[in-house]
Symmetry: C2
Subunit: 265 residues, 2 copies
């Protein structure tokens, strides 16, 4: 066994590295990251690579470790895969082995060994979908947050502009957040009206705190309902206390949209 391990370690070091772009429905998963108590997106993708290559315990790293129920349209991950085939064939083979899970490889690109989906990431983009109408959604159940109270969009936009930029987001992270620092730069936080009674919140940053987008969304929705003024949001930010901010919006409305890398320029 140690000999076989060594042999694999050597083979993995020589394997070409790939950048994978993934779309998944997070509804049935315990989240991105491997957990012993349920099926994760990571486990599903690693199992597909293992089936394809016979490579024991392949490891993938991703730009974001999304929570249970959070979806992705363009999650980026990297993996070292020891199969000599074109990018297009590799994508097809991975998608074959990913079935029947609602996880799909949307794009495959050969990258240099210094590409790291987590560490090299320059910016992460999320979108949060709210359906703002009295009747609940029938087709998008578990894919949107249903808010029946009419939302005051201009007030939400004013509050979002106040939250954008470099701040200490201590009030906007979960108690489980493991980040040593709570200062982050929100490059974008915008609220827009979309088709079909939808309100979209776009959030972009180099990195986010745990639950940050969902707490920002919950707080902005409280502003939209008229419970809070935009000034209350500034006070919540200054309080440096999770209790001072709004509720955590449900996971099902959140989508990891895309991630930017130096190589994209």
């Amino acid at each position: 066994m140690p000999i076989r391990k060594l042999s694999w370690a050597k083979r993995i070091a020589e394997m070409p590295r790939y950048r994978l772009t993934l779309e998944f429905d997070g509804g049935g998963f315990v989240g991105w990251q491997f957990q012993p108590n349920g099926l994760s997106v990571q486990e599903v993708v690693e199992t597909a690579i293992e089936r394809l290559c016979g490579q024991p315990q392949p490891r993938i790293m991703s730009a974001g470790r999304t929570d249970a129920g959070v979806h992705a349209l363009g999650m980026v991950a990297h993996a070292d895969i020891g199969r000599d085939m074109t990018d297009a064939r590799l994508m097809g083979a991975l998608n074959f082995h990913l079935r029947p899970h609602p996880v799909v490889v949307r794009d495959v690109a050969r990258v240099t060994d210094d590409f790291d989906a987590r560490r090299s990431c320059l910016q992460r983009h999320y979108i949060y979908r709210i359906v703002n109408r009295v009747p609940p959604p029938a087709l998008d159940l578990g894919r949107v947050w249903h808010v029946a109270t009419p939302l005051d969009l201009p007030a939400m936009q004013t509050a979002a502009a106040l939250l954008q930029g470099h701040h200490d987001f201590e009030s906007f992270r979960s108690a489980h957040c493991q980040s040593k620092v709570s200062e982050k730069t929100l490059e974008r936080l915008t609220v827009t009206q979309a088709a079909g009674d939808e309100v979209h919140i776009h959030a972009s940053a180099r990195s986010f705190l745990h639950n940050q987008v969902r707490i920002l969304t919950g707080t902005l929705v409280d502003v939209g309902k008229g419970r809070w003024t935009p000034d209350d949001v500034v006070r919540a930010l200054a309080a440096r206390d999770r209790q001072a901010a709004g509720p955590t919006a449900p996971a099902g409305g959140l989508y990891f949209l895309s991630a930017d890398y130096p190589q994209d320029a």
Copy 2:
């Protein structure tokens, strides 16, 4: 029992009539129409009315009788409902009783007794969603038709223009179609590129033959793949034979969008 029946018949005749606009995920249903071998959308809505009013065997009529797996964003139906409440309250109560089914009343409006969702309908609008990319959809599984071959949109648009208008659509209806006539006027048949690698086909007509939109879609996709020329479509139309047209597109990509009535003007 006959006395009770008579009493209900009289009460139904006096009941106010409502126009209901429904959204539903057709994936788990045998279709719109009641069938003894499985759950239909009609049964689910009628059961909700029965629960709300205690009214035995309430009957609803709809603009369209969609097949199993076909969805709706704005199906129109009418029902006589014997509960004295505002439209908003009635919508809330019906949605409460529709749970947990993926069927939602999006709008309720009191109408005169001569409103008939089926007979008064001036025009029915459908949209067919195709995802045209190599990787299969993860989030929209069962909600779109996945076509991996790149589609030639201009060719599809040319063919659609040739199919638009008044024609004998004998080649474009299923063997189970019960309509006595096969001549119909397609007021609109357009093919457009949409966001997220989607191609949308819009179809509008006063009425459609059974499977007509799905066979039109299957034929247009054959044109998009380069298997057929737009002229082949004209020949298929002239053949007056189901075998001459393309395949029936899957149910899951089709949505009943809306219905127009004289009262809307």
